[in-house]
């Protein structure tokens, strides 16, 4: 915005990349030796590389503890990464000072999972939504009031509701307030950290539709983190599947579901219950047994090997890298399913 403007080129000739993540890592040190050098660490996020194109929604799925939220928090630098790069509009966020970062924060906003803890219970809704505007000195006085009221209406609330406190609203309404706060500064990128996971199913759809509507109107780019396949499938253009801190498969939504490559992805897809018993009978389910092993050091081979129904000696020894198996369809598996 008012940073030194770099010529926005599209380095790979594709549609503009808004955000590029390269080799992003977060390792939590579990124990150190006498010299203070880490001997054991938990790789919450390990070597994640991905790009987000302008105007798209990138879904990130995976079960709890796979590092997806850590990834989201690292993009906004709420968690400081151990290594790697987060390049937003050709500028590396991780090498920025706090002051420079503050400026960029205008363009990158977050929506949080728990609408009950993401709003300060002691602040009126008006002040909650006004916070980003005040922080960046975008509006004051009458124009601030107008903008907040406008935002309330954009997210489907009543302009008079600004006087209330968060506890007077339902979960869905609170999430709307959170969304209003996130879009207040006209950001370019919004990181949605499981924004519907805490909501009733009936309200999930409303919130998803609101997000989609806002994306169109405000030309937003979303990173949509979720653990439920249906919500992510509904909103995303492309989906990245994470397992134990790594991306195991990444493709457009259509390809991911039609031509699934990674057994873990297949397992996730098959774990979604089908309400119709007749349809259910026809489905060949790939069920993944067990849970994510708590091991901090999963050894040499494929991280999914212990739970994979197709695992071979090769998988145990050699870790598969994320390769492009079909155009724009990446998977980290020695034996892709299709």
């Amino acid at each position: 915005m008012n940073m030194p403007v770099e010529v926005k080129e599209t380095p790979e000739g594709k549609t503009g990349h808004l955000l590029k993540i390269e080799g992003l890592k977060k390792h939590y040190v579990l124990s150190t030796n006498l010299m203070g050098k880490p001997v054991k660490s938990l790789k919450a996020v390990d070597e994640v590389t991905l790009t987000i194109r302008e105007g798209e929604t990138l879904g990130i799925v995976g079960e709890s503890g796979c590092g997806k939220s850590t990834l989201g928090n690292m993009i906004t630098r709420l968690i400081e990464p151990t290594g790697g790069k987060v390049v937003f509009e050709n500028r590396d966020l991780l090498s920025m000072s706090e002051k420079e970062m503050r400026n960029v924060r205008k363009d990158i906003q977050m929506i949080f999972q728990d609408p009950f803890s993401s709003l300060n219970p002691r602040m009126r809704v008006f002040d909650i939504i006004a916070e980003p505007l005040r922080t960046h000195g975008v509006a004051t006085g009458e124009s601030l009031k107008k903008r907040v009221e406008e935002l309330l209406e954009i997210v489907g609330l009543n302009r008079s509701q600004g006087k209330r406190f968060p506890h007077e609203f339902s979960g869905g309404q609170r999430q709307r307030i959170g969304i209003a706060r996130a879009i207040a500064l006209h950001p370019k990128l919004v990181v949605c950290d499981e924004p519907v996971s805490a909501l009733d199913v009936s309200i999930q759809a409303q919130i998803l539709n609101l997000l989609i509507k806002l994306q169109k109107e405000l030309n937003l780019t979303y990173i949509f983190i979720g653990h439920g396949i249906p919500a992510v499938k509904y909103i995303s253009d492309r989906i990245a599947v994470m397992y134990m801190g790594e991306i195991v498969e990444m493709a457009s939504k259509e390809n991911l579901f039609k031509a699934t490559k990674h057994p873990y992805t297949q397992g996730l897809i098959d774990s979604v219950p089908i309400p119709d018993p007749l349809l259910r009978r026809d489905r060949e389910e790939l069920l993944i047994k067990g849970e994510v092993s708590g091991e901090s050091d999963p050894g040499e081979g494929c991280r999914f090997y212990p739970r994979c129904p197709f695992g071979t000696e090769m998988c145990r020894i050699e870790k598969p890298s994320l390769r492009e198996h079909a155009p724009d369809h990446f998977a980290a598996c020695h034996y892709p399913l299709s």
Partner: protein
């Protein structure tokens, strides 16, 4: 849209039906009157303050005047007492009622101001330590630990024996030793609050640390802070009593409840009234402050109130 915002559970004491009154004073009075404990607490506290301010005018006798012909007179309603000395006299024939009235001043000053001082220091240290964490937190908390390791009474004794005892010194010394409790409690609260998503949200917006501490953290620790402060006033009044007992607190001819209490201790078996009435004064004052603090805590929490417009929609 989805379900209407529900009317919220309210504590029965602070109740519904608030109209936006024109004047904040009016609104607060109304809120106060809705709560029985709040009202009682406020009456007691205002009463005590009134007594402290006008002590010289109210006291029937000179609190320091010895009257050896009238020593150990029982209270008026006990055989042998007279209304001249309504609560009796002590071992030097001084009027207990007058001494309590005048002693209010010292006890209240020491109780309230040392708590304010300790609270402010503790609040700042606790918030800073809890919020920033890291080495700063370590340094500050080890400081707190070392304060806690030395019994505060010992610390105070050293100070009071080096310097000339006075009310100001007493306040400062008690304040400087008692802040650690606040720092501990406040830090603990901050640790849990800074992990809440609204703090994260604020950080992701780019709000400065100072603003986050003032707008997001401070308001959310206020309730526990008020509760420990109210309780601390009580312990401080009693601490002042023990210091006076050791001869390092309030020096005669000044009077304080604590000093009276310790004076009367020796006569508890034979002349109960000497120690009892100052004790009763302490109890009443402390109760009043606790009631008021309790009410204040409830009122400051928006969740405990129905919206000022009167509930849901």
């Amino acid at each position: 849209m989805e379900a209407e915002s529900k009317p919220v559970m309210t504590l029965p004491r602070v109740n519904a039906g608030m109209k936006t009154s024109s004047h904040p004073l009016k609104r607060w009075t109304k809120l106060l009157l809705q709560s029985r404990t709040g009202t009682v607490g406020m009456i007691i506290v205002l009463g005590v303050i009134f007594v402290a301010v006008f002590a010289d005018l109210i006291a029937p006798h000179n609190p320091a005047a010895n009257n050896l012909s009238n020593i150990m007179q029982p209270p008026a309603w006990v055989a042998g007492g007279s209304w001249d000395f309504a609560l009796g006299t002590d071992n030097l024939g001084r009027d207990i009622l007058s001494r309590i009235i005048v002693g209010t001043r010292v006890s209240l000053l020491v109780g309230v101001f040392s708590v304010v001082l300790a609270g402010l220091i503790g609040l700042v240290v606790g918030i800073v330590a809890g919020y920033y964490g890291g080495w700063l937190d370590n340094v500050l908390m080890r400081l707190v630990d070392s304060f806690l390791a030395i019994p505060s009474i010992l610390f105070i004794l050293v100070f009071l024996s080096v310097f000339e005892p006075s009310i100001t010194l007493l306040i400062v010394v008690i304040g400087l030793t008692n802040w650690v409790t606040y720092a501990r409690v406040v830090r603990g609260e901050v640790l849990s609050i800074k992990e809440r998503e609204y703090v994260k949200a604020s950080k992701s917006i780019g709000t400065s640390h100072r603003t986050i501490m003032l707008r997001h953290i401070l308001p959310n620790i206020v309730s526990s802070f008020i509760v420990i402060s109210a309780l601390s006033v009580a312990t401080t009044i009693i601490l002042e009593a023990s210091l006076s007992f050791l001869g390092l607190g309030i020096q005669p001819p000044d009077v304080s409840w604590g000093a009276m209490l310790t004076d009367g201790r020796n006569y508890l078996a034979t002349n109960w009234w000497v120690a009892t009435f100052p004790g009763v004064a302490i109890v009443i004052t402390v109760l009043g402050i606790i009631f008021l603090g309790d009410w204040l805590r409830d009122v400051l929490d928006p969740r405990a109130q129905v919206s000022r417009k009167g509930g849901g929609k």
